[in-house]
Symmetry: C2
Subunit: 242 residues, 2 copies
């Protein structure tokens, strides 16, 4: 008997990767709009290098990029190398933020799925890695916060994926057994493997991002109990094992 | 001969005090919308106490308020004291930010004044205290950045009001004499006194905020060369001394 449905957040319920890309480019374009002439392509390359180098939660992406631009105006095709950095950091952050706020939306199969699960009376929880305030902001802006009985964010819990203990902790808090739980995520390594390992029923959703085994072509030693390409396929699966 | 017009930013070119108040209340209301029931009036009192205690550039206003709420649910009339703090910090920050972005606008006498000054060929600069990125973001969102030949923010310069050296530095950078300069601000202590002291022509604008001598009733040992209640009165003054 299934009682609990757990979801991953980023790239499972909304297109986090694409949104971050769009927002970063939005920031770069805003810097141009505000008067700094440079090669957008070099700017994109430079920014994505920095994201790779310092991680996506680093708070000084644009600071670092603009310093590098100032140090190497030729590479970035900057005609006026004597520019003021904070002016353009502000433009970058503003452009980034405005795109993020404006464009964040759930994948189109999400709302119906959450409504249907709730109608039947399943408890719905979220199990997500990340910084608590950032994850909650996403949930607020996606307007899906009210669907969840409980929200577990790694920063708050003090455990993170792929540690199976993170999943164990959530289930203990909910007083539900792994066999009574279905967990849906987009990543084999961080969602499916740890949830599998403690006996949760796992569903891999193909979102065609870089972690999708169809896209990255990786082979894994384990598999999800079910693979789906839309959340429309979730309810039939849940019913089939209930 | 007047060549340079300098402006203060906060509460001179836009209503910074009122905007901050509205944004803070916007954050408090968003926290309620997201499910935390508490007395809005107590929330407002609590938040404004924290702003007074830690300053307006402190980054943990809502964190601190929510911790205090949790510690004293009776005072804040909270019915469910076992709430998750990060969820509501996110709501508060989001509500605050959304109001700030949506409602920031120049005082209604600003655009005409800047356009007219620019047409005549005066150089226009900004001399403002604050954190560089925050001040630039305001200028971007107010859509007035392009009017200024130069922008001097205390954090970038390493000097701040009421140090007259901050004003001296800006004038040296612009290669303009104090007697060729008019500076407009809303505060006697931070704008008028230091600018006066080095011989700049000073204009006090009455914006009816808490620093307005008409409102706070304070007596000062010095006075501005001109007091105005709208920027419409600026150009006639500048012409009269040119």
């Amino acid at each position: 008997m299934i009682r609990l449905i757990g979801f991953d957040l980023d790239d499972t319920l909304f297109d986090a990767t694409e949104l971050a890309t769009q927002a970063r480019i939005g920031g770069l374009k805003k810097i141009q709009e505000c008067g700094l002439n440079y090669s957008l392509q070099e700017g994109i390359n430079g920014l994505f290098e920095i994201v790779k180098e310092f991680g996506s939660n680093y708070t000084k992406h644009y600071d670092t990029l603009l310093k590098r631009m100032k140090n190497d105006p030729i590479k970035y095709e900057i005609t006026m190398p004597d520019f003021k950095i904070p002016k353009y950091i502000a433009a970058g952050i503003m452009g980034y933020h405005d795109v993020k706020v404006k464009k964040i939306k759930p994948f189109k199969d999400v709302m119906d799925c959450l409504v249907d699960l709730q109608k039947i009376g399943y408890q719905i929880i979220l199990i997500s890695d990340g910084r608590a305030i950032k994850q909650y902001e996403k949930l607020h802006r996606l307007n899906i916060l009210h669907f969840f009985t409980e929200i577990f964010i790694s920063e708050e819990v003090g455990l993170k994926k792929p540690d199976p203990e993170f999943f164990n902790y959530c289930l203990r808090e909910m007083d539900v057994l792994p066999s009574e739980t279905v967990y849906i995520g987009d990543r084999m390594d961080r969602d499916i493997e740890p949830a599998n390992s403690i006996g949760i029923n796992t569903v891999l959703i193909h979102r065609k991002g870089k972690y999708d085994p169809i896209i990255n072509g990786k082979k894994y030693r384990y598999q999800a109990d079910r693979e789906i390409s839309s959340l429309e396929e979730l309810m039939p699966f849940v019913k089939s094992i209930s």
